[in-house]
Amino acid sequence: MLSIQNVTYSYGDKEILHDITATVNDGDFCAILGPNGCGKTTLLRCIANLTKPKEGYISINDTPVSTLSPRIMAQNIAFVMQHPQTDIDFSAFETVLMGRNPYQRRLQNESEQDWSIVEQCMRQTNTWHLRLSIPSQMSGGELQRVMIARALAQQTPILLLDEPTSNLDIAHQFEIMELLRDINRKEGKTILIVVHDLNLALRYCPKTMLLHDTKLIYKGPTRDALTPERIHEVFDVEASIVDDYLKIDKV
């Protein structure tokens, strides 16, 4: 269980997150929604212990993340960041193999087990055929899938993703979301994902945390979160639900 307790974060004088409290149960597939600059990425970075909240804390199964070493954290939480590095010359295989780092000892090479886990994760994300390609030879969608494969290779109970679909066309967006849904259902992985497309959230994520103006204004089933009134309040657009889809118009 992941619990966020009274987390407040500020950058200089500017408050980014204000007193956020929420729990994410094991096996949840939860979207984090909200307009640009409302602190979604910061919340993920706090959860991954990449930055420390000013007040409050985050804990996994009642252990505060700030007390865990990077190695133990990397065995518990995998983080797919918004902008994957494209200027490095590691092959996709080597990249995914890095996901095994939290389990390896120093001066020791990868075991056969590490290799088979990597192969399995790459097959699962449909990237095995790309194993010898370097980032500059891959498309945005392929690279994103490789990053997800690396996160899977970490074999963590919790997976965080920061807008993994933002640079992808609609078909690849579905592909990524379906992959994540599969992982969530079959392996029971807890998934927290920042998305911008409300319809993607509605379609794939059973739960939602809605952030607005540094505050968590709603947490619960996505269907109940995205009412036309709340969408108007948060995103300042008019929306209506048509056949389970949101139809959105400018004001």
Binding site: P70, M73, A74, M81, I88, F93, E94, N101
Partner: protein
């Protein structure tokens, strides 16, 4: 696809072969020089024991250290243009050496070397102090601080030289780098630090790969980024400080040898680090031997030979690897 065990044994075998090659090359180079030494009586010759052998030993140690430091810096700063002198340690050492020369300490056994070392170590302290915010170290500020400090210290050295025309030549000569005065004492002072430093880099060589993916990614993959970076920088700067104090500034080795190794074997630092030890050692050995044998009895500055030999070699490798793509 290669299997994991295969991968490792390859590196070990190549490293061993290169180690043997290095030792053989050291002996061969030691026989060459103004006075040609006979292989049979080699071990009874004082020139061999007291001049040539300490010199080739120091060359090999410094070559290995510089290229390992270059590899480390390029990964830690995620910048292919960084070389071991980028943090200003070399100019710090040069300032110390210049002061020693101005104070007339050349004749003392430890005069120039120890002044250079002390001022290089002070430079390291200063840079680390300025670039640390709280207990975090910001690599970009570190790099910029180093570059600025280099300009500042170089300016001071230029002023010193302008004010003391008579000493200009010896200061310039020191900063160009040379192994001409290498002694066993230098070897015993530099060797332990270099062994320690290289051991630390080898120990963290997988972390170097992860650091290349960005500090936050590395952290999320289980690397204690602050700790690893701090240790790597501490031990590598220490190596650079000792090397510069012993033989002055020798450019190009630390910048280009890591790239050559990378072009030949790929970007896995677990293979680059061990191979760059020997590549750096052999390359500098070749250059220093050329520097002292090309126009006997005079010596050429080894720093210009490294560039003269290294630059075309590097451009050739780069050209070849681009054609493969």
């Amino acid at each position: 696809m290669k299997s994991p065990s295969n991968h490792k044994s390859h590196t070990v075998i190549i490293s061993l072969a290169l180690a043997i090659l290095t030792v053989v090359a050291m002996f061969l180079c030691a026989t060459m020089g103004v006075v040609d030494l006979d292989m049979k009586t080699l071990f009874q010759t004082p020139i061999f024991w007291n001049l040539r052998l300490p010199r080739v030993c120091l060359v090999v140690i410094v070559g290995a250290a510089l290229s390992v430091c270059g590899t480390t810096y390029q990964a830690v700063f995620r910048n292919p243009l960084t070389d071991p002198y980028v943090l200003g340690i070399s100019s710090g050492a040069s300032l110390g050496a210049a002061l020693a020369i101005l104070m007339g300490l050349e004749a003392h056994l430890f005069g120039i070397g120890s002044m250079a070392l002390v001022s290089a170590l002070l430079t390291i302290l200063l840079i680390f102090k300025v670039a640390s915010i709280g207990n975090r170290m910001h690599t970009t500020s570190l790099l910029l601080t180093g570059v600025c400090l280099t300009f500042l210290i170089t300016a001071v050295i230029s002023l010193l030289m302008a004010l003391h025309h008579d000493k200009m030549e010896s200061i310039i000569f020191w900063t160009m780098g040379s192994f001409a005065s290498a002694s066993w004492m230098d070897v015993w002072i530099v060797l332990p630090i270099v062994i320690l430093g290289i051991a630390v880099v080898l120990y963290y060589s997988r972390d170097l790969n992860l650091l290349l993916t960005g500090s936050e990614t590395a952290q999320s993959l289980g690397v204690d980024v602050e700790k690893v970076r701090r240790r790597l920088l501490f031990f590598t700067t220490l190596m650079v400080a000792f090397c510069v104090s012993a033989c002055g500034v020798i450019g190009f080795v630390g910048l280009v040898v890591p790239h050559c190794v990378r072009l030949l074997i790929g970007s896995d630092n677990r293979r680059i680090v061990p191979l760059s030890i020997f590549a750096g050692a052999l390359f500098l050995l070749l250059c220093d031997t050329m520097a002292r044998t090309l126009i006997p009895p005079n010596e050429l500055p080894v720093g210009s030979i490294t560039s003269l030999v290294g630059a075309p070699m590097f451009i050739y490798l780069l050209y070849k690897s681009k054609r493969k793509l």
